[in-house]
Structure formats: structure tokens, C-alpha cells
């Protein structure tokens, strides 16, 4: 990916009741924000499987945003508390993988906070821009190639690509 015209790509998972509605409101209010975000609607932020986040990064996203209702406001009572727990776990996992924890973010945005949608998205896009491209697919491929080459050099029979294994773990 050429550095000069690289644009961050961010996948967002928004709960239908609060944050997705807030994003609709941002639209209705004609607020303007960076076009780097792709929003996927789920019923509750509690539906966000950590695998969704890892998958997004593995498929080339530079950052992931999870949006849910404010604590205590989840349409399903407490789905967002589960999200919070998973989010903290995810940050540790990413840290362990050498990926900046800043690439994922969890935000509580209520249905009336269209302005907050704009702010959060713009801010995240700017932060990811500073972090630069993640290019996990490229890295995984490079890793495969390198290990493949050394395996050949060592003449290991029936070499299985470790990066491919990792991908399998991620993709479940």
C-alpha cells in the first residue's frame, strides 16, 4: 500500500438502539465527519464477538470502533457491561500481539448524541492516521513468506505456515 495516499479504514460495530440511531441523527443533522468509517449494525454492543474485531483487523482494518448505549441504558439491560469486559480483554490481547491498543475503541453514545458520533469518529480517524497503517494482512503474508523461506532452508518436510495457523485462530 503506497504510504502517500493511504487512508485509514475503520470498521465500526454500533448497537441498533443507541449508537446506530445516533449515527442516523448525525446524518439527519447533516453533521460532517471523516469518510473512513464503515458502520455495521448489530442489535446490541453485547453481540460484538471479539472475533469480529480481530477479523476486521486481519482483513485490513486499521482500527475498530465499538459503540453502545451508556451504562445502565442498554436496551437489553446490561449487554454493554459484557462488551466492556470483552473490550478490556481485547485490548490486552492486542497489546500482546504488538498492536497498539489505541486502534480499538469503545464508546457509549446515546441516541440523541449525534454530535458525539461526529467527534468520536473524527478523533479516532486522526489518531489512527498518526499510528499509520496496520496492514495486518500484509504482515501476516510477510511472516508466512519469511518462515516458509527458513523452513525451506532448513529443509523441514511438510511445513505448515504458522501465520496461517494464527489466521485460523483468529477466524475461528
Amino acid at each position: 500500500m503506497p504510504e502517500n495516499n493511504w487512508q485509514p479504514r475503520i470498521v465500526a460495530f454500533f448497537c441498533s438502539w443507541c449508537t446506530y440511531t445516533a449515527a442516523d441523527l448525525a446524518g439527519v443533522s447533516r453533521l460532517k465527519y471523516a469518510p473512513n468509517i464503515r458502520i455495521i449494525r448489530l442489535m446490541c454492543s453485547g453481540r460484538v464477538d471479539p472475533q469480529f474485531v480481530l477479523e476486521a483487523l486481519a482483513r485490513g482494518a486499521d482500527g475498530v470502533l465499538i459503540g453502545g448505549c451508556h451504562p445502565g441504558d442498554c436496551h437489553y439491560a446490561e449487554g454493554n457491561f459484557k462488551t466492556l469486559r470483552r473490550y478490556q480483554m481485547l485490548r490486552r490481547v492486542l497489546g500482546a500481539m504488538g498492536i497498539s491498543e489505541e486502534r480499538i475503541r469503545l464508546e457509549w453514545i446515546s441516541a440523541s448524541e449525534g454530535e458525539r458520533v461526529r467527534m468520536v469518529i473524527n478523533d479516532l480517524v486522526e489518531r489512527i492516521r498518526i499510528l499509520g497503517p496496520l496492514d495486518l494482512p500484509g504482515r501476516l503474508a510477510a511472516c508466512d513468506a519469511e518462515l516458509g523461506a527458513s523452513a525451506q532452508a532448513l529443509r523441514l518436510p511438510q511445513y505448515r505456515q504458522p501465520a496461517a495457523d494464527l489466521r485460523e485462530v483468529i477466524h475461528g
Binding site: 470498521v11 448525525a26 446524518g27 439527519v28 464503515r38 442489535m43 464477538d49 437489553y76 475461528g172
Partner: protein
């Protein structure tokens, strides 16, 4: 790619221009062209208005003519038109869930200005939906029955009207009001604008009708404590506070009030906004419904110390209505829908110290002025200064606390009209000079402008400018003993000092102090200001995001009496429509467990907020009761063996979306 039943995929893709709304920013033709190249797409079109009937007809015909088995529409938010298009897909003979919608208006065209980037985004979102829809399976909606009883929360004019409408249609209504009487703010008004008809004359018959209606259960002095369940089937816990008077036994004779050991009324009377006094045992106001007294436990000697002569008991004699043993009660009821009409609170002008409210006794709020000129008020309708004299010059400060970044930004819509009403009544009754200080006069609606003309014709003076200060420091003999309003008259282009006897602050409406609590109990949303949020400002103005919960009146935002009543009627009609439909189709987004894969770890069981997951200890497998599942998907994301699926939001469907949004650079 093949679909499950092994028919090859035949996806129809449509991108909507929405007039210029989308097409002005997104290159719709380019999106359609791009979509045509994607796997499974056999037909790709762009069209001006997909949601119009020709647009829907197009989908129907294409399904037949081109043998489509999947449909994707890229247009506005699915929250707005998903239902419309599903219906069109069904009319074309396809299962309505073999459809996916792409939001390229609210989430794209309306929020971006860079056309190339917006078009790219539209392509990415379209690719995601096309990949996703390939995974869709036919689903069936289930129908949940609707309990025909309705709960109305709040007994102001909105709640009263909604309750009566429903009761007249033969539905059983529970009307719950927090105060000891229904009537709300309207009961405190003398006259109503713009017709200047007597508020009590139009309200009290409705209040009595509520009391008398066989279909209405009226619970005053009560609050909703808890709501459980979902549309069609709510279990509501109502807290009935102790009134210390048995409502059914009290005849409202008020002999007990007369007999109370407090010879003089001593405590501020809420109905007259503190302008008069009441005893510990009191009737909320003369026309109160129910006609039953109430005892204030904070003030009653018997309730506080147990050492009172209880002369009230003697006066009540063999009616035995007074009951010092009465306890707060929690009652449970079952209803299918709810109407929230909890009203508003007035802005507290103490937050504007420069207007001197609370410091100068002759600075009043509009509601206090209203009570003073009301014939049922503390002065019997005589407008009096603190000194007991009649004022000769009265000023109204409009937008006190409204349209102001420091306090409330919004316009309360009624204060101009309310002030002009009071101004006219004061002119008529006392002949005093009346001056209105305004930023803009807002007299919208039927009869509004005419009402303004009438105020002008009556000699009410209008000074355009936001009042800077109200003070009592005279600079000239003419200002001696007066309240002086300092204002920049923006029409005359100068700062003026105007001496007055009485200053009335036109305070605006605010959400109730406990609005957040009510919102939480009812599972609603609030706007940033704290008003309850309607589902859609135009298309669903009395619905909320929670099915079966409707809103009416000022809890949704400031409005006048006609608008409140119109909204109350609309909310009642929505509730009726729900009840008479007999049932409600539920989104088939329930979770299910594939038994072979379940490892019996039980981690899902405790996660479910609806207790929909049961564990079979013999089989060592969990299972989900679809009737209880609300489709949040928390268990799906948590299952370590991946054995829980969710209809409409399958893992694979989401993975396709993720891949899709990232596939297009």
C-alpha cells in the same frame, strides 16, 4: 456461490437517489455499475425514489421477471424503511428476510462532502450487504399477543385525554399520577390562549369524567416503581404512597381540615405556588379529583410525634376516612402498552440572579402571576403587590432563562402567548400599564398572530430587547420605590430604564427533575436536553424506541394545550392500533443453540437478562426459549464453543459484512 437450497444466487441490487439527498453526493450510477460486477448480482439498478410505490413495484416485478432470490437496497437508514422494502420483497413472492439494506444516506451522503470518498464508501457498504445477503435464510416472524389494558403515566391534560380516549374505546386504563390530584399544570391556569376561555371550565369536566369512567382505574399519589416485560406484556409495579386518608371513604367535606389542631394554615400551598398556605391536612385544590383530602406526614403532629389530639378524627366521625396506620403499598398490574405523559417543570429563575427573583417580592413568575389573577387563587383574582396595593405598571420579561446559552437554549413556544394572555387580562381587569420585553414575539399557530394584534390593540407596549437587569436602585425621583428594568431597546437603539411596580418573568419549560429516572424505568431515550425522544420527529412523533411505549405532551418537548391534546389523542390511537391488531410481529432475531455443538459449559445461562436459556442437567446441554429471547446476541458472542447462532445476525453474516466493507479499497 450457491445458496443453501442449492439454487444459484440471483441478487437484485438497487441504489436510490433519494432525489438529490443521495445522488447529490454519491455517484449512484457508478455504485450500481460496481455492484453489477459482484458475485451473485444478476441485476443492478439506480432509481430516483426506491421507497415510492413505483420503486417498490420495480422490486416486485424484477423478482418475478428476473427470478431474483435476494434483494439489496442501498438508500436510507434501515430504521426508517427496512420494513417498507421487506414488504415489497414479500409482495414479490420472496421471503422478506432474503433482503438487506444499505444505509448510504444518513451514514454516507448526508455526513460527507468529498464525493469520491462518499462514492467509495457507498460501494464498500454495498459490497458488504451483497456478501451478507448471500448468507440469508428464509425466516418467519412470530406474533406476540397484546394485553389490552393500558397504563397512562401522568394525570395532566395529556394523560387525562389519552386515558379518556382509550377508555371511551372500551379499553381498561390505569391512570397513575404522582400528585394527590390529577389536573397538572392546566388546573393552575385561569384562562387559556388564544381563545381566553376559562381553563377550569374545560378541564374539570374531563377530570370528573376520568373519576366516573368505569374503564379507568385512577391511582393518584402513586408512582411507577418498576417495569418488566416487553410490548404486549408488561408487568408494572406501582408504588401507592400513603395518603393517610381512605380515598373511598372520604367525601371531601373538609370538616377535618376545619378541625385540625393548626388553627391557621401555615404551610406553603403547592397548588398556589407558595402564594398561599395550607394545613397539614388539606384538599389539594377545590376541584381536585379525587375529592379526597391528604395528610402531609412531614407536617402532621400525629404522624411526626404521635402526640396530637387528633381533632380531625373526631370531625371525620363515623366516616372513618382518616387512617394514620396507612402504609405505602406496591401493586402489580399487567398491561400491553404504556403512554408516558409526565409533563414538564418550570425553569427556576433563581438561576438568573440579575432578575432579582427571590430578592424582590414583586418579581414573579408567569405561573405566580397566573395564580394571582385567577379567581380561585389566593387573592380571589385581585392582582396585588406585596404591599397589598394594586400595581399601576407591570412588565413581562420574556425568554427568562430561554434561548440562552448560559441556561436553556430552547424556545418553550408558549411563553410569548402566555405573557400576552396575562398582559391582556391585566389590561382588562386593572387598567395598569403593561410592557412586554421580548427578543422575538413568537405567536405561531391558529389564532396566534391575531392574539398578538389584540394585545397591541389593548395598549400593551412591546419593547424589543433582552432585559439586562431588574433592580431597586433609583437614579431619579420617578424611580423611587419602583423596580427598574434596564434594557437595551434594540428598535430605538438605546439603553432604557423603565420603572415598574411588578415584574413578571416568563420562565420556560424544562424536563422534569426525575425525567432520567422515568426514562430508565420505561426504557426510553432522552434528547440531549432531557426531553423524551420520539422514534422519528416526523413519521413517528408519539412512538418511542421501545415498542408499546408512547409519549404525549410536554415530556416530549415544550408545547401548548392544543398540541398536547393532539399528541395525547395520537398516542391513544397508536395504543389502540396495537391492541386491536391483536398481536405484534416480532423481528425473528432470536438466538438458538445447536445441540450437537453445545459443550454444556453453562457460561451463557447467567448472561441472559431474560432467563431465556435453560440448562438440561440430564442431556448436559443448554437450550433457548425463543419466546423469551429478545435477540440481543450477548450469549452468541460469549459461547466458547460457537454453538449459539442468532437469526438475522449470524456470525457468518457479520463476517461477510466485515470482509465486504474492507474488500473495496
Amino acid at each position: 456461490m450457491k445458496v443453501k437450497d442449492d439454487q444459484p444466487l440471483r441478487i437484485g441490487f438497487y441504489v436510490c437517489h433519494c432525489g438529490h439527498n443521495i445522488a447529490g453526493v454519491v455517484d449512484c450510477a457508478a455504485v450500481a455499475q460496481y455492484a453489477a460486477t459482484l458475485e451473485g448480482v444478476v441485476l443492478s439498478r439506480d432509481y430516483k425514489y426506491m421507497c415510492s410505490s413505483p420503486g417498490q413495484e420495480l422490486i416486485r416485478e424484477d423478482i418475478r421477471d428476473h427470478n431474483l432470490n435476494r434483494v439489496v437496497v442501498a438508500s436510507c437508514s434501515p430504521l426508517l424503511h427496512e420494513h417498507t422494502f421487506r414488504t415489497a420483497v414479500a409482495a414479490g413472492g420472496l421471503n422478506p428476510f432474503l433482503f438487506q439494506m444499505v444505509n448510504i444516506r444518513e451514514h454516507d451522503a448526508w455526513v460527507h462532502t468529498d464525493k469520491a470518498a462518499a462514492t467509495d464508501k457507498a460501494k464498500a457498504l454495498a459490497a458488504a450487504a451483497i456478501r451478507r445477503v448471500a448468507r440469508h435464510r428464509p425466516l418467519e416472524t412470530t406474533r406476540a399477543p397484546i394485553h389490552p389494558d393500558v397504563l397512562v403515566v401522568g394525570g395532566g391534560i395529556s394523560g387525562i385525554h389519552a386515558a379518556l380516549t382509550l377508555a371511551n374505546a372500551g379499553k381498561k386504563v390505569y391512570l397513575v399520577e404522582r400528585d394527590p390530584s390529577i389536573g397538572g399544570h392546566m388546573a393552575q391556569f385561569d384562562k387559556t390562549f388564544p381563545t381566553l376561555d376559562c381553563a377550569a371550565c374545560i378541564l374539570t369536566p374531563k377530570m370528573s369524567a376520568v373519576r366516573a369512567h368505569k374503564n379507568i382505574v385512577l391511582w393518584t399519589y402513586s408512582e411507577v416503581a418498576k417495569v418488566e416485560g416487553y410490548v404486549g406484556n408488561y408487568t408494572v409495579t406501582v408504588r401507592r404512597k400513603a395518603r393517610y386518608v381512605q380515598e373511598e371513604l372520604c367525601v371531601g367535606c373538609q370538616e377535618c381540615v376545619e378541625a385540625c389542631v393548626f388553627k391557621e394554615p401555615k404551610f406553603p400551598d403547592r397548588f398556589n405556588v407558595g402564594l398561599s398556605r395550607r394545613k397539614p391536612i388539606y384538599m389539594p385544590f377545590p376541584q381536585a379529583v379525587p375529592q379526597a383530602v391528604v395528610i402531609d406526614p412531614e407536617r402532621c403532629i400525629e404522624l411526626k410525634t404521635g402526640k396530637c389530639k387528633k381533632t380531625c378524627l373526631e370531625a371525620c366521625a363515623d366516616r372513618h376516612a382518616i387512617d394514620f396506620q396507612q402504609k405505602e403499598e406496591l401493586v402489580q398490574i399487567h398491561v400491553g402498552s404504556m403512554i408516558v405523559a409526565t409533563g414538564y417543570e418550570l425553569f427556576d429563575p433563581r438561576r438568573l440572579p440579575h432578575y432579582g427573583y427571590g430578592r424582590y417580592p414583586d418579581v414573579l413568575t408567569t405561573l405566580e402571576c397566573e395564580r394571582l389573577i385567577s379567581s380561585s387563587g389566593p387573592t380571589g383574582g385581585e392582582l396585588r403587590l406585596h404591599s397589598g396595593q394594586a400595581p399601576t405598571a407591570v412588565g413581562f420579561v420574556l425568554c427568562a432563562g430561554s434561548r440562552d446559552y448560559k441556561t436553556n437554549r430552547w424556545c418553550s413556544r408558549t411563553c410569548c402567548m402566555h405573557s400576552m394572555k396575562l398582559a391582556q387580562i391585566i389590561r382588562e381587569r386593572t387598567g395598569a400599564e403593561v410592557t412586554l420585553f421580548y427578543i422575538d414575539i413568537r405567536a405561531p399557530g391558529k389564532g396566534g398572530e391575531e392574539f398578538y394584534d389584540r394585545a397591541l390593540a389593548q395598549g400593551v407596549k412591546f419593547v424589543r430587547g433582552r432585559v439586562a437587569e431588574v433592580s431597586d436602585c433609583p437614579l431619579s425621583p420617578a424611580e423611587q420605590g419602583k423596580l427598574i428594568v434596564r434594557v437595551e431597546d434594540t428598535l430605538a437603539g438605546m439603553v432604557r430604564r423603565i420603572p415598574l411596580d411588578m415584574v413578571v418573568l416568563a420562565v420556560g419549560m424544562e424536563p422534569q427533575a426525575n425525567a432520567q429516572e422515568v426514562r430508565r424505568i420505561m426504557n426510553m431515550s432522552c434528547s440531549a436536553e432531557g426531553w423524551f425522544l420520539e422514534k422519528h420527529p416526523k413519521m413517528a412523533p408519539v412512538s418511542t424506541f421501545t415498542d408499546g411505549v408512547f409519549i404525549a405532551g410536554c415530556c416530549q418537548g415544550p408545547k401548548d394545550i392544543p398540541d398536547s391534546i393532539a399528541q395525547a389523542g395520537a398516542a391513544a390511537a397508536e395504543a389502540l392500533a396495537l391492541i386491536d391488531a391483536g398481536g405484534i410481529d416480532q423481528e425473528p432475531n432470536t438466538a438458538y443453540i445447536s445441540e450437537e455443538d453445545c459443550s454444556g459449559c453453562k457460561s451463557c445461562v447467567d448472561l441472559c437478562p431474560y432467563k431465556a436459556i435453560a440448562f438440561d442437567p440430564v442431556k448436559e446441554k443448554a437450550s433457548i426459549n425463543a419466546a423469551l429471547c429478545k435477540g440481543c446476541g450477548v450469549c452468541v458472542a460469549a459461547c466458547p464453543s460457537g454453538s449459539i447462532g442468532q437469526n438475522l445476525f449470524e456470525d457468518q453474516e457479520v463476517f461477510e459484512e466485515i470482509e465486504g466493507v474492507l474488500a473495496h479499497a
